[in-house]
């Protein structure tokens, strides 16, 4: 019967708020509200496959391991590299092969053990150990060895110049105590990594498919942080339900808000929201250049010219994607207006290209796309693309598959085309290298590998200076615009919605939320 009493009380509360209410009001005083005090609650779409940073795949749950594990340097929310466990950015030798880091001397692991250069050396060596088969070993393969130089200095020595590796640390690496992998086993890193990180959050509990809870690390090296006692990360796959959690105060911050609701919700009182362009999130139609009909460049060109990216961005993505025709977002320093402008929306031109191809009359393919949204739902976009292609005479059927399965098949070169969101650490080389050079994880997806791009990338690896890099990228983009291996829709925007009492939160250009310094107003 107590349920009934509550109902009446709530009805009266609702009645009180009704005069001011249209849609979506009256949430402010409701009794089921949850988040309060010092527990920061996040709601994100995906569950992690592991908490071990060297094997983590999905971007949104990385918020958890980035609170547990830290790195020598980090990519901050604005995409700027800054020191983390090191005192400063590394000194780089003239041959671009030796990186020297001075470590902070006030860092302890969560188990109280101080962090030294031996731990750093061990961390890299254990990650690179071939027997471990870490998913991320490939991108750090150019690290030849790590040398300690006293307890607080390390030299990382590369086998050839490879500047981007610093950018990859934040997402795919961490520092753990020497010998810890042998002592605890890899499953410990995967399932319940207590005490082995240096970060502000100590692993407390993982409820599969529901949530992961971290508690405050009292010995965190930045004494002002964290401002929360507990961090609860809930996994809520449905867009609408995440929104509901936010409104019902079952979450303080949500990731990947429903695009359709974002604008109206971010303006609501008591809520805040922000969208930022990212530099590392491709939304792209990956075409298998080795298979018909994409074995003919003119079909690929036709596809590229048939897609109305502006319209997709506006109506299918509700502004959550920045349209662009090449892997360079407008805001990025490597954007090249000329290359970008060399592809556009023009159905007549698309028909023209199709007519020149050997598949002029029978251009048809199957487009695979993720059944459950990863970062952003692509189903509506797929339907729109299907109809836009239809308009120029390319038939396309849609096939929905789980994202990891689809990627698996694509990597074997089995798919004709895959519409997918891909992410990288906010710099251009990672995805370009993985997709368009030989023997890389994604090279079979496209079946396209241009030696010219590999050469240009090599030049880029040796450069640390943006001004010097820009012309190199311009050449790469030109080459891609010529060959049209994929059809880019645009770059994903990162967006979050949060409650008004959340302090110091900023949307991360690296997509994954960064909540280490976030607090809650009482």
């Amino acid at each position: 019967m107590s349920g009934f009493v509550i109902t009446r009380r709530m009805l009266m509360q609702v009645a009180a708020t009704l005069p001011a209410a249209g849609l979506l009001t009256g949430f402010d005083d409701t009794a089921w509200a949850q988040s309060s005090g010092k527990t920061l609650t996040l709601a994100i779409p995906n569950s992690p496959n592991t908490l071990d940073p060297i094997n983590a795949v999905l971007q949104d749950p990385m918020v958890i391991n980035q609170c547990i594990f830290e790195n020598l340097v980090e990519y901050d929310v604005d995409g700027v590299l800054r020191p983390q466990l090191a005192r400063a950015l590394p000194e780089i030798s003239a041959d671009k092969l030796t990186y020297t880091f001075d470590l902070r001397d006030d860092v302890q692991f969560q188990n109280g053990q101080p962090m030294t250069s031996e731990d750093v050396k061990y961390s890299f060596e254990s990650m690179l150990d071939k027997k471990r088969n870490a998913a991320r070993r490939v991108i750090f393969e150019k690290i030849a060895r790590v040398e300690t130089d006293g307890p607080h200095r390390v030299h990382v020595i590369l086998s050839e110049p490879y500047a981007p590796w610093l950018n990859f640390l934040t997402k795919y690496m961490g520092i753990w105590p020497a010998g810890s992998r042998e002592r605890y086993g890899d499953d410990y890193f995967k399932m319940k990594p207590v005490g082995i990180g240096t970060g502000p959050g100590i692993f407390e509990e993982w409820r599969p498919n529901q949530s992961v809870t971290l508690k405050r690390n009292p010995n965190y090296w930045d004494k002002s942080l964290p401002k929360w006692e507990r961090l609860v990360v809930k996994f809520v796959p449905e867009d609408a339900t995440r929104t509901a959690y936010l409104l019902a105060r079952q979450a303080d911050i949500i990731g990947a808000p429903a695009p359709r609701d974002f604008a109206s919700l971010s303006k609501r009182s008591g809520l805040a929201g922000e969208v930022r362009s990212t530099f590392g999130g491709w939304s792209t139609l990956m075409m298998n250049n080795a298979k018909p009909p994409f074995d003919d460049i003119n079909v690929r060109r036709a596809v590229n010219w048939a897609i109305d990216r502006q319209k997709l961005a506006q109506y299918a993505f509700f502004g959550m994607v920045d349209p662009c025709t090449l892997p360079a977002p407008r805001q990025a320093w490597w954007y090249d207006a000329e290359a970008d402008g060399s592809i556009g929306y023009d159905p007549e031109k698309a028909k023209g290209f199709l007519a020149q191809s050997k598949h002029a009359t029978d251009a048809a393919f199957e487009m695979t796309l993720p059944a459950t949204p990863y970062l952003l739902d692509l189903k509506d976009a797929a339907v729109a693309i299907q109809s836009q292609l239809q308009a120029v005479g390319i038939r396309c059927t849609l096939k929905m598959t789980e994202p990891l399965v689809a990627l698996g098949q694509a990597k074997k070169g089995e798919l004709q085309a895959l519409l997918m969101n891909l992410t990288s650490p906010g710099e251009p080389t990672y995805l370009l290298g993985q997709n368009f050079t030989e023997n890389q994880p994604y090279s079979k997806v496209s079946g396209y590998a241009a030696p010219e791009i590999a050469d240009l990338l090599k030049q880029a690896y040796a450069e640390n200076d943006q001004a010097a890099l820009k012309p190199i990228y311009a050449k790469i983009l030109k080459k891609i615009a010529d060959d049209c291996p994929y059809a880019w829709l645009g770059f994903l925007n990162a967006a979050n919605l949060w409650r008004g009492n959340v302090t110091d939160f900023r949307v991360n250009q690296g997509i994954t939320m960064d909540v280490r310094s976030v607090g809650l107003k009482a």
Binding site: L24, R260, A316, A371, S387
Partner: protein, 293 residues
């Protein structure tokens, strides 16, 4: 008119029959009556509320919801009716043979096996099995089986125990009737009695059960599509339209969820009323048939 009312077991039965006829007609005539191409994307007309042009509004891709609802009747009915046909195909002979061989090991084997299979909860298994087989086209030897066929067959198989038991019970009763004994004494072979005498007399409960089971099947189809394992978008089905509408509940585009749900409900009401009516006519004693799922 009065005769028509009686044929459907009363006015509600007639209403049910009328709904069913209308829905089936709607599905069959979809190409003629649907005002728009159900798959025609028109991004700049997306999420239009119901108006004179789009009576039920448009969805997030600007597709006409009325047209999609009309076309969406097809997979619903195909799966609902098809699965029942599959269950009759297998369940009818099983039930007949078991009921006609009462007391023999044949009866024991068939009925005990069916009892065990009846202990399979339909929806969970349907979801799990489609999940395992995958929503794509499955290759079974030379046959390529699409997901809709897969769901149809699967539901049909899961319906078998319920249907076979009804036929079994009806056959038991018939097989003990005096006329069957008389026919046996005349030297008519068993199978002949089974098909020419017993079978026609078991059809009434089968028809009633089948009609009500179609109603259940339509809801099951919607549920399976709702979790993304049934009819795959962009093809329209009432279930996957509802699933897609979930993203627009908060922003208030009610027409996305209301109309497909309404059509499921009305169709299922139609089959239920018709089934009840037919039962009142054909099988007035068995008031308790009800197929939960």
């Amino acid at each position: 008119m009065n005769r028509l009312v009686r044929a459907f077991g009363g006015p509600t039965g007639l209403i049910g029959g009328a709904i069913v006829v209308l829905v089936i007609a709607m599905a069959l005539l979809a190409p003629a009556i649907s005002p728009f191409d159900p798959d025609a994307v028109a991004l700049d007309r997306q999420l239009t509320p119901p108006d004179l042009l789009h009576w039920f509004g448009t969805d997030q891709s600007g597709r006409d919801i009325l047209s999609r609802v009309i076309w969406g009747a097809r997979p619903s009915l195909e799966i609902g009716i098809g699965s029942v046909l599959v269950s009759i195909l297998f369940g009818l002979p099983l039930g007949l043979v078991a009921g006609f061989n009462q007391g023999s090991w044949v009866e024991q084997v068939i009925m005990r096996t069916l009892d065990a299979v009846a202990a399979i909860p339909t929806l969970i298994w349907a979801i799990a099995v489609v999940g395992i087989l995958g929503v794509g086209v499955s290759q079974l030897g030379p046959l390529a089986i699409g997901n809709q066929t897969k769901v149809t067959i699967l539901l049909g198989l899961l319906y078998i125990p319920g249907l076979a038991r009804i036929i079994y019970v009806a056959t038991l009763v018939e097989a003990q009737a005096d006329y069957v004994a008389a026919r046996r004494l005349q030297g008519v072979p068993g199978w002949k009695i089974l098909f020419s005498d017993v079978l026609p007399n078991t059809l009434s409960p089968v028809i009633v059960h089948a009609t009500l089971q179609i109603a259940v099947g339509i809801i099951l189809e919607a549920a399976i599509s709702f979790v993304g394992l049934g009819v795959q978008p962009p093809a329209a089905s009432w279930g996957n339209m509802l699933a897609a509408s979930r993203n627009f509940v908060f922003s208030g585009e009610w027409w996305l969820s209301v109309f497909p749900g309404l059509f499921i409900s009305i169709t299922v009401i139609g089959f239920n009323l018709m089934g009840d009516g037919i039962r009142d006519v054909l099988d007035p004693r068995r008031k308790l048939t009800m197929a939960p799922a």
